[in-house]
């Protein structure tokens, strides 16, 4: 027959680090746990905080996805939903809250004010024009204020982002 004894692999082969399979599986487990247990910090500055409270309530009920436990202290929180305008005086406080959270930590910028200053972009002397000047943001939710569905959508998007994270692989790569 015309079949060669040994076919050459058509692509390139990169060598995986030690225990590549094990690490990937562990990553899958950890990402599953992390994405399904995102505890937000009880933090709201203005109008968007009310819509955040609506997301907690029975009609939208974010506890279904594992966001249930709202912690008042940043040490136990995984996610900070910046709901509302951040002004110059609040900016160091927000940075400090973010620093106080243990890794891994995520940020959702909720509402127009946190994205760019929103309605408070022009002629204002005290508003920070977008919180990404202060802390890194994972998901932006536009709206003034965004609907609870939008917030839920953003949190599910965050879950997807976490699921694609590679905690252990990164650790191995570092070595």
């Amino acid at each position: 027959m015309g079949v060669k004894d040994k076919l050459e692999f058509p692509g390139q082969i990169h060598e995986t680090p030690d225990g590549g399979f094990m690490v990937t599986q562990l990553d899958a487990v950890i990402n599953w746990a992390r994405s399904n247990s995102v505890w937000p910090l009880a933090f709201g500055t203005s109008c968007c905080a009310i819509e955040m409270m609506h997301t907690v309530n029975a009609k939208y009920d974010w506890s279904r996805f594992g966001f249930e436990v709202m912690r008042a202290t940043p040490r136990q929180a995984d996610l900070i939903i910046v709901s509302g305008t951040i002004v110059m005086k609040m900016a160091p406080v927000l940075k400090r809250l973010y620093d106080q959270m243990p890794e891994p930590k995520y940020v959702i910028a909720m509402g127009a004010c946190t994205i760019s200053g929103g309605p408070f972009f022009y002629n204002t002397y005290s508003v920070v024009k977008g919180i990404d000047h202060i802390i890194p943001v994972d998901v932006f939710v536009p709206g003034c204020p965004p609907r609870p569905e939008a917030l839920l959508h953003s949190m599910i998007a965050l879950q997807e982002k976490i699921k694609n994270d590679a905690y252990f692989r990164k650790q191995v790569d570092k070595k």
Partner: protein, 151 residues
Amino acid sequence: MTNEELKNNITQVFSAVTFDETGEFLNVIIPSEELLPFMKVLRSTKEFNFDYLFCLTCVDWKDHLMMVYFLNSKTHNHTIVVKAKITDTINPQIESVYDIWKTAELNEDEVFDLFGVKFLNHPNLRRIFLEEDWVGYPLRKNYVDEHMIEL
């Protein structure tokens, strides 16, 4: 008391005042030095009895600052607006009315913060909204901020 009666009674007590009746309320304009004695009279005299200071603010007219006090009497239910003119815009000063109306404390803090008017005998004068090291007084018309984006 109606505005007319108020006007008459005030002129009897205090002569160095001018009146302005164009708006909804009776406006009384007095020099800033005489504010405190005038306010004390308004508060303590029985027929005035202005016990309710419901709005305290300041207006920057570029050449002078105008303190505005909205007073109401809960017993007689009449309203008056007292305006005190501060001519010194570089280092504006005026007596605090905290001793008369306790609500003035935070309101005067606010005016100090945003207009830079210093209140004498104020119990705790501080920048209430902005950081301690903020330069300038934002609601003054000559305030410049290079970070501010004009529409």
